[in-house]
Structures are given as C-alpha cells and as structure tokens.
Amino acid sequence: MGKIYKSASEALDGILFDGMSIASGGFGLCGIPENSINAIKESGVKNLTVASNNAGVDDFGLGILLQTKQVKKMISSYVGENAEFMRQYLGGELELEFNPQGTLAERMRAGGAGIPGFYTKTGVGTVIAEGKEHKEFGGDMYILETGLVMDLSIVKAWKGDEAGNLIYNKTARNFNPNAATCGKICIAEVEELVPVGQLDPDHIHTPGIFVNRIFMGSHEKRIENRTISER
C-alpha cells in the first residue's frame, strides 16, 4: 500500500524543513520514536517547534536535538530530567511553553479531531490561564485551550502493518495515539512490521488512516528510572 519505508531517513525524506513543527509521542524515555529523532538530528533541520510531554535526557531522545540546538521551542509538561534543557532555557536560548499534561494530550487529540478549541478547568487561577479566554459553565470557571495541528508527527508503536495500523505495548502507548492524529504527516516506527491480516481489527490502537509512512527500527528502549523490589 505504499506506506512502507526502509529506514527513518528514507521515511523522513522530503518532509523536513527549517522552522517546522513536530509532535512526538512518548512519555519520559518510554515509547519514544528513537529512530526518527536520530534521523532528524542527522538531517540538520533547525528552528524546530516540538510538542512532546518531555524533552528526553541529555544524550537520548529529544535531548539530542537540544544538544545540537535544532530546537527553537518546546511545548511540554515536564522537563525535569534534562539538564541541557534547563541550561538553554534559563539562558534564554530556548523557548518553552508549559502545558499541563492532560491539556497537552487533549490539544493533540483535538487538533487531530478537527476541534480548534475546548474548555477545561485545568489551570484556572494559575499562570496557565493568563491571557486565555475564560467562560463559565454550570457555575464553574473554565479556560479555552486550542487544538494543536503540527507539520509532522513522529510516533513509536510495538507492531504495525502494511496499512499503517498500529498496536502499542503497555505504557509505551502514552502520547503516541494522540500525537499520531495531529500531524499533517505522521511517520510511525515499529518494532515489528507485519503483513495486513496479522493484527486483530479489534486490537488496533491507531487505525492506518493516520499513518502516512511506516518503517521498522531497532530500539534501545533505555530505562530512565530502574526501580526494583526484592521479590
């Protein structure tokens, strides 16, 4: 069906441009599109605006695009694990738009669903609400948040098929299904690429319509916070 590419760099060919906006799936280092991020670094594209819950760590995930200063602005809810991020931000080299985590996820979903704005109670009475339209519903105050539509979304799934259908594994799902919908183009990387008919239609998390290009990658899947119990 013409969606299959051999590698991240092939899948990204002709799509990247300076100043573009990118939505990325992943939470912490879990379920991040490692290969696409690496290929974006290699491409040298710059002045990126990236919407992603986190910014990776200094030498892995989106952190590597901060090292190379390819990112102009991050839209994130939590960047506490990234020292380089903090340095660039406090030094005024990097723009940062904090979004509450649920607001960020819903903004991606809304953008993908043709919803340009929605009201939420999250952030009312905080700096997040400053400059945003307020409106009362049923006696409570809400603020207007906008849908995010990005030039590109990059996501990582466990299995994918030739039609672009995706299945995620456990908490590696996180922002991926939402990010997948809000890019004008979506590139998915998977651990296993299978022919159509191999995935149960009731188990598919992201229908193929959202995925323009798909490739199989190898994934380090680094663990950020290895916590074990004795038994």
Binding site: Q101, G102, T122, T227, I228, S229
Partner: protein
C-alpha cells in the same frame, strides 16, 4: 512527629474500598505500602495505566512498563492501558476518587503550589494541574515547614499556583488538617505534637 512512612500510613487511612486513586511522586508513592487489610484500591498512573502493581524483580523489568515517575513497575490482573488523552479524560472527568500529592506550599483556602520556583526550579507541572482540577478529593502530604523552618502552610501561597481552592486535606509531619471554608481545622495530632507546636509552624489560620 511523624516520619515519611508514618505520614504515608496516615494517608492510607483515608482510602476506602473500591476507590480509584492517583499517587504523586515522593512520599505519596509510599502510601501504597500501607493500604489497610480488606481495602481494595486501584491505582491510576497518568501516563496511561489503571491497576498499577509493585516494582518488578530484576528479571521482570520491562522498559515499556513505567509509572508517571518513570519508575519501572508491574501490572496486575485487573490492569488496563490507554492513551494519555484517555488517561486525562478519567482525571479531568472526575472519575478518580482521590489524588495524594506532594506540595511546596498550601494556603488556608486550599490553594496548592507544587510545580515551580521562579528562576530556580523549572521542571513543569506534569499532570498535577489536571489532577487537582479534576479529582474528587485531593490530599497533600508534606513536611509542615521547609528546611529553614519556615511554614509551608500559609495564608497565601507565594509560589506560582498549581490550583486554586483544590486541596481538601493536608497531612504533615505534625498533624492532619481539613481545609474548611474559612481556614484549617486540626483533626489529628502527630505523636508528641501539641497545639502550640502546630501554631508555631503554621502561618495559615487555624480554626480550632
């Protein structure tokens, strides 16, 4: 005075059978160690999991299975996974019964500040603003005072807010407060703590 574990175990007494609960990073995470016998609670993790299990043994570590603190965890028989948007539909939609969170400051009106110190600490709010806006009951666990001995329970928060009038109960190393319309009500003293000690450590208005 209570230590971290005693504060966590006190918070666990607020749990009721059948509840869906979100535990914040830090002391709140310890609450899961003290869930009373006969009380069945389902833990939600805002990165997309309902029914969070304990930390894994070395052999069972799975990089695709972490909690909101990015710690490796395990699943239970009842577990389900879902996207971040669906996770916060649960949270924002009022389906979670209780959130137990850490804090930097709480005001007598129940205002909460726990996400940034301007110019010093810029980590982000993560899911905290969504949790306090959407969850039915919000409990804060924290030390009563900071390292310099200043009260963290104030008339007005000085740090940027996470939410306004959102905290229902505060559990500290000194006591348990319920947040009322016009101030804080002491409902329990920690071992060896008297009224005077709490007063000295509290800037906020105490009702009783």
């Amino acid at each position: 005075m209570w230590d971290r574990n005693q504060m966590a175990s006190r918070a666990a007494l607020e749990l009721a059978d059948g509840m869906y609960v979100n535990l914040g990073i830090g002391i709140p995470t310890l609450v899961s160690n003290y869930i009373p016998e006969g009380i069945d609670v389902t833990l939600q993790s805002e990165n997309g999991m309902l029914g969070m299990g304990p930390f894994p043994t070395e052999e069972r570590i799975d990089p695709d299975l972490i909690n909101a603190g990015k710690q490796t965890i395990t699943e239970l028989e009842r577990t389900s996974y879902f996207s971040s948007a669906d996770s916060f539909s649960m949270i924002r939609g009022g389906h979670i019964d209780m959130a137990i969170l850490g804090a930097m400051e709480v005001s007598e009106k129940g205002d909460l500040a726990n996400w940034m110190i301007p110019g010093k600490l810029v980590k982000g709010m993560g899911g905290a603003m969504d949790l306090v806006a959407g969850v039915k009951r919000v409990i804060v666990i924290m030390d009563h005072t900071n390292k310099s001995g200043d009260s963290k329970i104030l008339k007005e928060c000085t740090l940027p807010l996470t939410g306004k009038s959102v905290v229902h109960q505060i559990i500290t190393n000194l006591c348990v407060f319920n947040v009322k319309q016009d101030g804080l009500e002491i409902i329990e003293y920690a071992d060896g703590v008297d009224r005077k000690k709490i007063e000295e450590a509290t800037e906020a208005k105490i009702l009783n």
